[in-house]
């Protein structure tokens, strides 16, 4: 296994939050800059330590914003990184790239960031419908949006192994229970019962409103460095014990993997092999959850249950506070806030550092104090998958 040499060699040392939810009158750039500054402060580093900066590919600017570039973020932070990039491969690719830059010796501290004013700026996430020039011919048939793309996959899975709303409501409800004990979560004050789930309106069937992630204003950032350097910093050390990525790449409309096995099967295998553990050692999961079905198929492909057994597996609050395997302990993208793959990864880091207050896994929630957390990230529509095993070292 190529990555074994890198097991526990790199660590995540600082997490940067910003106000999140509906935060009007803010530019996307401002969220990037605030999240970065807070991550630097949180880590205990100085800004001049940052020699790598990786930004998510920014969507088209809203509300007269300028387009966010790494140059602008660096300028506003007053830093001059040796290496910068901006890519659409989000946290999943960015963590691997950061490790590669660190291991090759090009950088010592790499900052990853995502931010957006999507909620206040009314980003539609249906680019084809809002751009005056439709980039994709399938708009001619009325095919728009990620929700439709993932719903297409979910419908196939209903046919293939009998999943459906009865499984997905368990996911939505259990994640909402986590959000209800996370004051940062956008849905902190909103309860969600089975009945509420079934009463929530269809968006693109088979998905209801409560199957879909939030749209958020705000930003999130974290810093990756060597475990050796992390030991000198202020927080408990959280290492990257295993990481694996796989890119099936095929557009969902031509895909054979709508109902799995998605890239998670191979990315998970690589991550577990690198870490030298099995899924039985995992204390909690932070799974990229753009939609409820994404959580089901990811856990299924990681081997936690067989096709179609998710409905039983999620029952009785297994993934909820106090359950046997906590999943998405901040509320996730469904109920906390949407910061791409950084929502799950940063939550895992905060849990392993023991900094999650009311929702901290351990005696407060009736769960084991976590040592190993499995995170996932997912790109485009099951075209890319990363599994990351983080460890309190």
């Amino acid at each position: 296994m190529a990555g074994t040499r890198l097991k526990d060699k790199y660590a995540i040392v600082g997490v940067g939050y910003t106000p999140q939810g509906r935060v009007p009158e803010r530019s996307a750039l401002s969220f990037h800059v605030e999240a970065c500054a807070n991550a630097i402060k949180d880590s205990g580093l100085g800004k001049d330590n940052i020699d790598g900066l990786i930004c998510y590919r920014q969507f088209h600017p809203l509300a007269n914003d300028v387009a966010v570039t790494p140059y602008l973020v660096a300028q506003h932070l007053g830093i001059q990184p040796a290496i910068m990039s901006q890519e659409s491969y989000c946290a999943r690719g960015q963590v691997l790239h950061a490790i590669s830059l660190l291991d090759a010796g090009f950088c010592n501290y790499v900052l990853l960031v995502y931010g957006d004013n999507a909620l206040s700026g009314r980003r539609s996430f249906a680019e084809g419908a809002t751009n005056s020039e439709h980039p994709d011919d399938i708009a001619a048939f009325g095919e728009f949006s990620r929700v439709a793309n993932f719903a297409m996959a979910a419908r196939r899975a209903m046919h293939r192994f009998g999943t459906g709303p009865d499984t997905w409501k368990e996911i939505a409800v259990s994640q909402r229970k986590w959000a209800n004990i996370n004051p940062l979560a956008m849905s902190n004050k909103k309860m969600l019962t089975d009945r509420d789930y079934f009463n929530s309106e269809w968006v693109v069937e088979p998905f209801r409103r409560d199957d879909c992630c939030l749209v958020s204003d705000g930003g999130r950032a974290c810093i990756i460095t060597s475990t050796e350097r992390a030991r000198d910093l202020r927080h408990p050390t959280v290492t990257i014990m295993g990481i694996g990525e796989h890119n099936t790449s095929v557009d969902i409309h031509q895909s054979d993997i709508m109902a799995g096995p998605t890239g998670a099967a191979l990315s998970g295998k690589k991550a577990f092999e690198m870490a030298g553990i099995t899924r039985h050692a995992i204390d909690a999961c932070e799974i990229y959850d753009c939609f409820t079905y994404t959580v089901e198929i990811s856990l299924q492909d990681f081997g936690f249950f067989r096709p179609g057994e998710g409905k039983e597996w999620f029952k009785d609050g297994r993934a909820a506070p106090g359950g046997r395997l906590p999943v998405n302990t901040s509320g996730g993208l469904l109920s906390e806030s949407y910061f791409m793959g950084l929502t799950p990864i940063t939550e895992a880091v905060m849990q392993l550092m023991g900094r999650c207050e009311q929702r901290q896994l351990g005696p407060k929630t009736g769960n084991k104090t976590p040592e190993l957390i499995l995170c996932s990230d997912n790109g485009a529509v099951f075209q890319s998958s990363t599994a990351i095993i983080l460890r309190r070292f």
Partner: protein
């Protein structure tokens, strides 16, 4: 006035859309390994041969998956709500995104047999759509 988005043929897709206008659903078939591909490309994704010929699909297939829109992401589709889009797997192999017409969204199911019908939407554009299979 037809107000829905129209396909914009490019160098790779113009043969497909030209075929549609002539009511022929055309796909590239690899001359080396016989793989029928979609979307159009300069090479075969299976064997990397550059040699391909265009074939005409018989227009039969089955619904691989489908969704039902309850919100309109584009105003021109509002009057169609709820409407379905579907991925149809054709007998020749390719899967294409299309609409199922001639039945209600609630009647659809995965693996439903369908066949091709043409919708002429403008002077120059015809869209391949599908309807529940009839002999």
């Amino acid at each position: 006035m037809y107000s829905k988005p129209l396909p914009r043929p490019n160098a790779d897709t113009k043969e497909f859309w030209k075929g549609c206008r002539e009511h022929e659903l055309r796909f590239q078939k690899c001359k080396n390994c016989d793989h029928v591909r979609w979307p159009p490309s300069v090479i075969c994704p299976q064997c990397h041969s550059f040699e391909a010929k265009w074939i005409v699909s018989g227009g039969t297939g089955a619904i691989y998956s489908y969704v039902v829109y309850h919100i309109a992401f584009h105003p021109a589709f509002k009057k169609d709500l709820p409407y379905a889009t579907a991925v149809v797997k054709l007998a020749e192999g390719p899967k294409i995104l299309t609409n199922i017409v001639g039945c209600r969204p609630s009647e659809l199911f995965c693996e439903m047999p369908v066949n091709l019908v043409w919708e002429d939407v403008s002077e120059t554009v015809s869209l391949p759509k599908f309807t529940p299979f009839k002999d």
